[in-house]
């Protein structure tokens, strides 16, 4: 297909019908949207790659530190279970956990915590919040805790 110059294209506009121009404008705007979306995706990819590179460059956690986190995790869960009244709902439990994890700047293991909550017979399952919502909330919160820890380790915190 022949390629036309900017000057030719600009001059042609006055000859085109409004309906045709309306369609053309929609196509151009679509191109702009696609270009913006592609740029955003590229930026996200670059940012992710930078974040991964930064994470990979972090020194390994010393064994003593790792152990410290494990102990903190255990302590937190234990403290949580010990202090949870019989009728505590899942929602309240999560809120409480959030406070504790912030206090310890803790890396939690979500699956383990999920098991703990699942096995916690004292929980009131009639809470209006669904279990899945609570779990999603928990995972989001864990992500946040992990990020905080990463920041501290990388000296950015």
């Amino acid at each position: 297909m022949a390629v036309h110059t900017f000057a030719q294209l600009k001059a042609s506009i006055s000859a085109a019908e409004p309906q045709t121009l309306t369609l053309l404008l929609a196509e151009l705007d679509k191109m702009i949207d696609e270009k913006n979306a592609a740029a955003a995706a590229t930026k996200l990819k670059t940012d992710s790659r930078t974040a991964i590179t930064a994470r990979d460059k972090l020194p390994p956690l010393p064994a003593s530190e790792e152990s410290k986190y494990q102990i903190l995790y255990k302590d937190t869960v234990n403290e949580l279970l010990r202090s949870t009244p019989v009728t505590t709902s899942l929602n309240r439990l999560i809120k409480k956990f959030r406070l504790l994890s912030t206090k310890y700047d803790l890396t939690v293991q979500v699956d383990q915590l999920r098991d703990k909550i699942d096995n916690h017979s004292r929980l009131d399952r009639s809470d209006p919040d669904t279990y899945d919502d609570v779990m999603a909330d928990l995972e989001q919160m864990t992500e946040s805790v992990n990020l905080n820890r990463l920041r501290v380790l990388s000296g950015l915190g």
Binding site: M1, H4, F6, L9, K10, L21, L24, L25
Partner: protein
């Protein structure tokens, strides 16, 4: 560009085939695919693609682009084809432009339509 009013190149393709003033009886004029291509270029300054010209030639049921076989009704039916062709030529060429030229063209189109 001819002296027809702006913003009507596809209509002009039809107008050129409507009447050749044969004793005032309005005898329809027949045009060829080559005539249409020439009018399109005269009006828009752009060249129709071979693919489109082939498709229109096929529509005339001949293989001769110079055969004057298109009636006004035929040309009217082809109106959407011309509009689509205009858009395709534009979009194909736009990839070679700078961002500033692209924005300039978009603004020129929007201004012509009176939209932001």
């Amino acid at each position: 560009m001819s002296d027809i009013k702006p913003g009507d190149f596809t209509q002009h393709l039809i107008d050129t085939t409507v009447n050749e003033g044969w004793f005032g009886f309005g005898k329809p004029k027949l045009v060829s695919v080559a005539d249409l291509a020439l009018t399109f270029t005269t009006e828009t300054g752009l060249s129709m693609t071979d693919e489109t010209l082939d498709a229109i030639t096929k529509f005339t049921k001949t293989t001769d682009r110079n055969a004057k076989v298109l009636t006004p009704e035929h040309v009217a039916k082809l109106k959407p084809t011309f509009a689509r062709e205009y858009i395709n030529i534009f979009l194909n060429s736009i990839e070679t432009l700078t961002d500033a030229e692209f924005n300039d063209l978009r603004m020129a189109i929007a201004n012509t339509l009176g939209v932001p």
